[in-house]
Symmetry: C2
Subunit: 210 residues, 2 copies
DNA sequence: AATGATATGTGATAAATATCACCGACTATC
DNA sequence: GATAGTCGGTGATATTTATCACATATCATT
């Protein structure tokens, strides 16, 4: 299990009792890069708090398509799993580990209990919802108003912010995240290269635009 | 001001003290149908709780376009205005009254105070965020995966659920909400009419599909 | 170095949507 | 009931994106 000190660094400003409760009740789990952590429609059994690594959150289409919404980093939690009420809540998102990750899985029976017991947990839940809500607003804005070239640029910028200027994704992977086709991504990336925004390699490219 | 009994009907399951606090601190405001209640970028000075009527929430594009996200009904609150921390939060949404409305405006200095004082307020804030988050997920799903014909159908169904089978909107208004053009909406509605899904009139149409 | 697998490039074409131009129908108002 | 304004219909065309087909490039493995 994780040490209390490490926990405090990643999730600051909680009450002592909450750290103790986490250490007692949560399970520290690991997952390899690429693992699907949560599927749409799946019953939610535990809340997920990211300790190490990065998770990608998707919306899933009926036809099986995926649409990238936002990243989760250490100290952040998956909003949909912070279930307050009932026991048969189903996931409305798809979550995948991008890197090898560690996360805390907290059985959902503690969600309501802790809301009553720990003020800092309450704040954490609200902060989580608020920040995820704001991410969704950005995603909607991009999707509703922008063409694919701008959406791709937005996507790459988020990627760069997360992992640095070297983007290690194939055109196909990017196309999947944006729910478009590889050809479209290839052509738009080629344009960006011609504009001097990126330098392309196989399996990756570098963002060099200011 | 509104009576305590009326308040209890619209916002059930709060603590007595919270009703009293609302009655003491909130202002009951009115607005005519069509009024813009909140613009994007505007400083948030008060939380908005709907008492009577319906509010439409939009995302606003940089070019001035609008994109409809969801309705707010009596007993519901605008999530973005439930600001917890700082005083200079700016709105990331556009809110418009669809009907004549009444709403409670609560100065944001009480947001944090009440979170500490009233457990039921805490729950109300979380429930608000959760339900708005879920609405956004639906909106993203429609926008990212569906073509305009399906999006229009989804839009009409939400409208029907809100206001009944008679949809009193012009093609132009629908086009604005979906960030497309009137011609596209007209053509798709014509198709729906040919399919026997709707009966069209000037300024309105009736949804007759099962 | 030959082979197969994966990644990327690109033309041709189709489909969806946006835009422009203009028309006729209805409505409110005087 | 003439008129101006709003609403809806529709062809033509442009743009964006999706899809298909196939070529080339790179890499890993032997």
């Amino acid at each position: 299990m994780i040490s209390k000190e490490a926990l405090k660094k990643i999730f600051p400003d909680w009450e002592e009792g909450l750290y103790d409760a986490i250490l007692k009740e949560a399970e520290l789990k690991e997952a390899k890069a690429g693992t699907t952590l949560l599927k749409m429609g799946q019953n939610i059994k535990s809340a997920m708090l990211v300790v190490e690594g990065t998770v990608k959150l998707y919306q899933e289409g009926e036809d099986g398509g995926e649409y990238f919404m936002y990243h989760l980093n250490p100290g952040e939690a998956c909003a949909v799993t912070l279930v307050c009420n009932y026991h048969h809540e189903q996931s409305q998102v798809l979550a995948k580990a991008v890197t090898d990750i560690q996360y805390l899985a907290i059985p959902i029976e503690f969600m309501e209990k802790w809301l009553n017991e720990f003020k800092s947990w309450h704040y954490f839940v609200i902060r989580t919802y608020r920040s995820r809500y704001e991410e969704l607003l950005k995603t909607i804005n991009e999707t509703a108003f922008k063409n694919m070239d701008e959406r791709l640029e937005f996507y790459i910028k988020r990627q760069v912010k997360q992992f640095g200027n070297s983007v290690n994704l194939t055109h196909q992977e990017i196309a999947n995240d944006l729910n478009t086709s590889r050809e479209v991504v290839s052509r738009l990336l080629k344009k960006m290269e011609n504009n001097g925004w990126i330098v392309m390699n196989r399996n990756s490219f570098d963002w060099i635009k200011q």
